[in-house]
Amino acid sequence: MSGVFITDGTGPLGKALASYFEKEGCKVATHPSNGDSKSIREAIIKAGPIELLINNSEPAFERLSFEQINEKEFSAMVSSVIRTAFFAVQAVQPVMRILGRGKIINISSSAPVRGMLKGAHYTAAKGALYSLTRSWAQELAPDNIRVNLVAADVGLGTAAEDGGGKTPFGRSISKQDIIRCVEFLAGSGGNMISGQEIIVDGGFAKLGF
């Protein structure tokens, strides 16, 4: 794995992923998850050959009940999570096509699977990534690109709205738990895996839907 591009590279998980791949000797470039297609495209072109794109987005949001989420908050969420990923994939496809291979990992959440209280805009935005993963896996296979999703619920269960509880294993999810999973998919173990989702939530989602 040589070139790695990570969106929301300054978020806690993004930073941890960047430093992991740097230690592995990869050339890592990051970009904010700002939904700005032009700046994303420019950053991807500037980064050079990218073999791994990690569509990470860790939008900070207030835990608002559904009625309180206004148009501005809704659009900001769509932009940060979906727009960023969509236009990063659009920009990276020609790069990976020239390279002859590539891997894309979409970082989502277990919220679209288990449901979530007070975070309908976040759940919707992260839910789009599941369907985008399944579609891109099919569309980009002819370019030798694998697309998978990792549901990364770092610190899941610590917010009061989630019951303030822990996973069935008695501890919450660490950034290391996510890195191990991303490492597997990015490595040769993931070579024939595409269109899949791995939900790293300590079994939490199965308690929901």
């Binding site: 148009e71 919707a124 369907s131």
Partner: protein, 252 residues
């Protein structure tokens, strides 16, 4: 027989084939149907058809992406007729089988605005009435493609995936108020939209790929919506009824 008398039901995008089918069937069960679409002629045609057979229908013409317009329409309906007790989020547009490299920002934004923002804020406009009544049903429309993926139209499929997340989040949030939130996921169904995208030949080719070798009728998709409206389905929430038919599997 299912009895929806006394309900006021908003069906968005009801000028289209599927929405019109939902609206007609819901009216046939005695509900007052609010027929919504962007285009007045298509709305009037459906309203007239329902009234011709003795049903109760009223028009609602507005742009579903215009949050304040939707809110104003819903307020007027509520003061004229009473609170909306059932919402069918059906409005949508085609992804036109576009490849990712060909989807510009305008097409991307329109896709998410109509499907996700439209559904999100239409629900927001009707929810206080449902909460006050202590009951309500919301049925969203996604697509089999949200689950299966497809080789094209990823912006469409992604928007439908967002509605899966929304459905589950709101099911959790509204359950204490006696409101259920579910979704139907149709496969390709002959309609104005799919005919424009695939043509008659394309539709026939799709049918051949299915184990049943036939496409569903709009009325068959409506039957899925009607299930979630049944009195007996009060505990069913956060669920997706996948009506996409299995395809024949051919090993390459």
């Amino acid at each position: 027989m299912q009895d929806l008398r006394g309900n006021i039901v908003l069906v968005t995008g009801a000028g289209g084939t599927l929405g019109a089918s939902h609206a007609r069937e819901i009216a046939a069960k005695g509900a007052h149907v609010i027929v919504h679409d962007l285009n007045k002629e298509s709305v009037d045609a459906v309203v007239d058809k329902i009234r011709e057979v003795g049903g109760i229908a009223s028009p609602m013409v507005c742009d579903i992406t215009d949050v304040s317009a939707v809110r104003t329409c819903v307020e007027k309906i509520t003061s004229d007729h009473g609170a909306i007790s059932i919402l069918i989020n059906n409005a949508g547009i085609t992804g036109n089988n576009a490849l990712i490299g060909d989807i510009d920002e305008d097409f991307f934004d329109r896709m998410f605005d109509i499907h996700v923002k439209g559904a999100f804020f239409t629900i927001q406009a009707v929810i206080s009435g449902m909460k006050a009544a202590g009951r309500g049903r919301i049925v969203n429309t996604i697509s089999g493609r949200a689950h299966s993926g497809a080789i094209s139209g990823s912006h469409y499929n992604g928007a439908k995936g967002a509605i899966v997340g929304l459905t589950r989040a709101l099911a959790s949030e509204f359950a204490p108020f006696g409101i259920t939130v579910n979704a139907v996921a149709p496969g390709v169904t002959p309609s104005g939209m799919t005919r424009a995208r695939l043509g008659e030949g394309g539709l026939a080719a799709r049918a051949k790929q299915l184990v049943s070798e036939r496409l569903p009728t709009p009325e068959e998709i409506t039957s899925g919506v009607m299930f979630f409206l049944a009195e007996e389905a009060a505990i069913v929430t956060g669920r997706i009824l996948n009506m996409q038919q299995p395809r024949k599997v051919e090993v390459l």
